[in-house]
């Protein structure tokens, strides 16, 4: 499969701030790729480099097989972009802006435009100054989904949408995937990412700390196990990968590295299992682990 986006070792500084510090990112064609990271991690900076709005200090980047800086216009013909903070011209109507954006890209599918306006319940006759934040985002989203492009770059596109519209958005992204388009989705809404994304990249302080399918990443984290046993547990504490073991009579709660789960289950069944709940790690836990590592590292270095 060809790569829609491939970035390696990207560096970008603003004065003394190192916004990107050797960032890597690979997005396969046709996938929905989640782009996660805490505020200020460099997500928007990366996206702006991919759009040729910022010039990277060093590192290699290719978007749709071309250089995003020197071939900006050619690349942009096949890209639709939705910023997190949409500002519109105060005296242009939403419909005018949608058509403008569509024509400035590869063109607009008018049937899909009409359908999207209906689904997002957008009034296209209102002027830019009278839209709320959510409605401004809908203008940009309708323009992006109705544009005839290969790659959608969405930078926290749903931060102002209500839950109903969030659902419409998720269906739209799923449809984009079915049509074979590639989506790079930067988001803080983890349920959204879990629902939509084939693969995710997590970045922190301008560097990629994790990248892969959700299944891959889950493998790297711990599963919570709660069990009620027939007899007293035996030797659980000695098993590798077991953490936070809490034994109260025949009741056992523990966390285990997911790749060591097998040994734990065998040990439990030796004692006889009456009931068992096992919770796979959520993306949220995954996320928190990476975000909180930051604090842990700082403590360790003191």
């Amino acid at each position: 499969m060809t790569k829609a986006i491939s970035v390696s070792g990207l560096h970008k500084s603003f004065g003394r701030t190192h916004a990107l510090d050797g960032l890597d990112l690979d997005v396969e064609s046709g996938e929905v790729h989640g782009f996660l990271g805490p505020n200020g991690a460099g997500k928007s900076t990366t996206i702006r480099v991919l759009l040729g709005l910022l010039r990277a200090d060093s590192g290699a980047s290719q978007v749709l097989g071309r250089d995003p800086w020197s071939d900006a216009v050619e690349v942009h013909r096949r890209i639709a972009y939705v910023p997190g903070d949409v500002t519109l011209w105060r005296n242009l109507s939403g419909g005018e802006v949608i058509d403008l954006y569509g024509r400035l890209r590869g063109g607009l599918d008018t049937r899909r435009r009409a359908e999207l306006i209906e689904r997002f319940e957008l009034d296209p006759t209102k002027k830019g100054r009278t839209y709320s934040k959510g409605n401004r985002q809908k203008v940009a989203l309708v323009a992006a989904f109705a544009s005839d492009v290969d790659l959608l770059i969405l930078d926290e596109p749903t931060s102002g949408l209500d839950p109903l519209m969030e659902e419409v958005f998720q269906r739209c992204v799923a449809e984009e995937r079915e049509r074979g388009r590639t989506v790079l989705l930067s988001s803080h809404i983890l349920s959204e990412v879990e629902e939509l994304c084939d693969r995710v990249s997590i970045i922190r302080k301008g560097r990629t700390v994790e990248s892969g399918t959700l299944a891959d990443l889950r493998h790297l984290t711990r599963t919570s196990v709660t069990a009620e046993l027939a007899g007293p547990p035996n030797g659980l504490a000695r098993l590798p990968g077991v953490h936070d073991l809490d034994v109260q009579g025949r009741r056992v709660r523990l966390q285990v590295d997911t790749d060591k789960l097998d040994a734990v289950l065998r040990s439990l069944s030796e004692a006889g299992v009456r009931s068992l709940t096992s919770t796979p790690p959520t993306l949220e836990e995954l996320f928190l682990r990476h975000y909180q590592n930051e604090g842990a590292e700082e403590v360790a270095s003191l």
């Binding site: 040729g52 010039r55 216009v73 013909r77 058509d99 100054r129």
Partner: protein, 534 residues
């Protein structure tokens, strides 16, 4: 803390709660802008007695000047009648109206900036959700303007006291008073429109109308007694007659106008919701025809191009009409020519007048070109340029749309000024059109400076206003102030051939055009290389 205690103590007038805090905040935000405006204005006024002493040193020269002003309606239209031959009276005559106009511009900018701008950006919502009374923001804006005008008045009174305390007091209070008349007028306009840009435009149009009315009135009568002069707040300053038997009651007129307008602004503000206006927004089309960055640029700028076109055409008509008066003057009087020449014109009275007027319009066109070029900067910093540049639009094409309107628009408005002259005057059409167009290379150089700043130092792009302002001041008062030639030469306008009347020389025109091309190219090269700012 202060806001809280103020609100609690003043029970009944809680509408004003927080005014003090907002005033200090506004003064802090304007800590550069207000001192610059006040200092430039005060400098212009206070340097005038010395200059005039050099120009009209003897009693005979002053008497001659007064005779000239009585007989020449065109000169009166430009600078108003002279009421007395003392140095103080001549100072009030020469700069009073202009200082008041500058104070008016400063005041309307301050008021719109702290009222409609705040509402339009949404910042006002957050401020108003605090312990802030309903009338506090408008009051703080007007007080900010009052502080600026008050300091200006103090400087003028103190600086001119040597010419006569009463006259200095009258002139200082008059200039500041006219400033406040326009501050309160802007406060009304800010209630009417949803857009701060439109509010500034309308307020500036009122100021322009006031200037034209005064000019028309003064050209009609010898002593400023025309109804037209009395309709214009700038005419009030003239009729205050500082240093020439002050008519103190005119100050009451000024104060009364400011008070009535202020009351009207409060009344209007009390009747509307935050962010709303009395000129409501109509819905637009559900589908659009804009299909390129150039079309978008035109859509964004066409309103202002139209406004400038009308303004320049009307100015041409008005000045063209006055030219008739200059031509009608019996004989080609030495003294009158001397005056006009000192204003930067050329020999031959009609030509001199036209040349001076066209030169002034050229300087004002520099403001248009800067405003138009800086739309690029506004689009970029507001984040609206980003999605456009993220579409299949190259940076050069994006910039080109706005630059064609800026540089071509400058040509258009100068041409329309020439057409206006033709309508108002009716002779020498070709020569006057030529005189208008010959201003363009200098206008373009200023536009080129703005492009360069935006392309290379995007965060300092607003400094282009400083360039235009400096050039305007040099052209406006530079010759009268006996500024060294080396300084005058900094302005591109100083190098233009003086048309009509003077000989046409292509060298400076071509060199200036080349300079403009180089500046624009360098700016665009910078724009292509740099990061897009937010």
């Amino acid at each position: 803390m202060t806001a809280t205690s103020f609100a609690v103590r003043s029970g009944g007038s809680r509408q004003l709660a927080g005014t003090g805090t907002l005033l200090r905040f506004a003064l802090r935000r304007d800590r550069v802008m207000i001192p610059v405006w006040v200092a430039v204005n005060a400098l212009m006024v206070l340097s005038m007695p010395n200059t005039l002493k050099g120009l009209y040193g003897t009693a005979a020269e002053r008497a001659g000047l007064m005779r000239q002003m009585e007989t020449n309606s065109s000169l009166r239209a430009m600078v108003g009648p002279v009421f007395d031959d003392s140095l103080g009276a001549l100072t009030a005559w020469r700069v009073g109206v202009y200082a008041a106009a500058l104070a008016a511009v400063m005041s309307l900018l301050i008021v719109v900036r702290h009222t409609r701008d705040e509402e339009e950006s949404g910042r006002q919502e957050l401020v108003a959700s605090g312990m802030v009374g309903r009338r506090a923001s408008l009051t703080a804006a007007l007080l900010t303007a009052a502080v600026a005008n008050g300091v200006l008045a103090l400087l003028v009174v103190a600086g001119l006291a040597g010419q006569g305390a009463a006259g200095a007091l009258a002139l200082g209070l008059g200039i500041a008073g006219v400033g406040m008349v326009f501050a309160t007028m802007a406060a009304i306009v800010a209630q009417l429109t949803e857009s701060a840009r439109l509010a500034r435009g309308l307020a500036a149009a009122v100021l322009g109308a006031a200037f034209v009315l005064r000019a028309a009135g003064d050209s009609a009568t010898v002593d400023g007694s025309s109804v037209l002069t009395w309709v214009s707040p700038l005419g009030w300053l003239e009729n205050l007659r500082a240093f020439a038997g002050e008519r103190w009651w005119v100050l009451l007129l000024i104060a009364g106008a400011a008070a009535v307008q202020g009351a009207a602004a409060y009344e209007l503000a009390g009747r509307r919701d935050i962010g709303m206006s009395f000129l409501p927004t109509r819905p637009g089309p559900a589908a659009g025809r804009l299909a390129s960055a150039g079309a978008l640029a035109w859509r964004l700028q066409r309103g202002s191009v139209l406004g400038w076109s009308i303004g320049f055409f009307l100015a041409g008509v008005v000045y063209g009409g006055m030219t008739e008066g200059a031509a009608d003057l019996v004989g080609d009087n030495e003294q009158a020519r001397a005056i006009i020449e000192r204003m930067g014109g050329q020999a031959g009275l009609t030509d001199a007048f036209v040349s001076a007027m066209v030169g002034m319009l050229g300087l004002i066109a520099a403001l248009y070109v800067v405003a138009s070029v800086l739309r690029l900067s506004g689009e970029e910093t507001s984040g609206r340029a980003e999605p456009v540049l993220a579409a299949a639009v190259g940076r050069l094409r994006w910039a080109a749309g706005h630059l064609v309107i800026a540089f071509g628009g400058a040509a258009l408005i100068m041409l329309l000024a020439g057409v206006g002259f033709a309508v108002g005057y009716g002779e020498d059409v070709g020569a006057i059109l030529g005189a208008c167009l010959v201003q363009l290379p200098a206008v373009w150089v200023i536009g080129g400076a703005a492009v360069l700043l935006h392309g290379v130092l995007p965060r300092a792009a607003v400094a282009a206003w400083g360039v235009a302002g400096a050039v305007l001041l040099l052209g406006w008062v530079g010759p009268a102030l006996d500024v060294p030639q080396a300084v005058l030469d900094v302005s591109p306008f100083g190098h233009l051939p003086k048309l009509p009347g003077g000989g046409m020389s292509w060298a400076p025109v071509l060199v200036l055009t080349l300079v403009a091309v180089v500046l624009v190219s360098a700016g665009l090269a910078g724009l292509r290389r740099r990061d897009v700012t937010t």
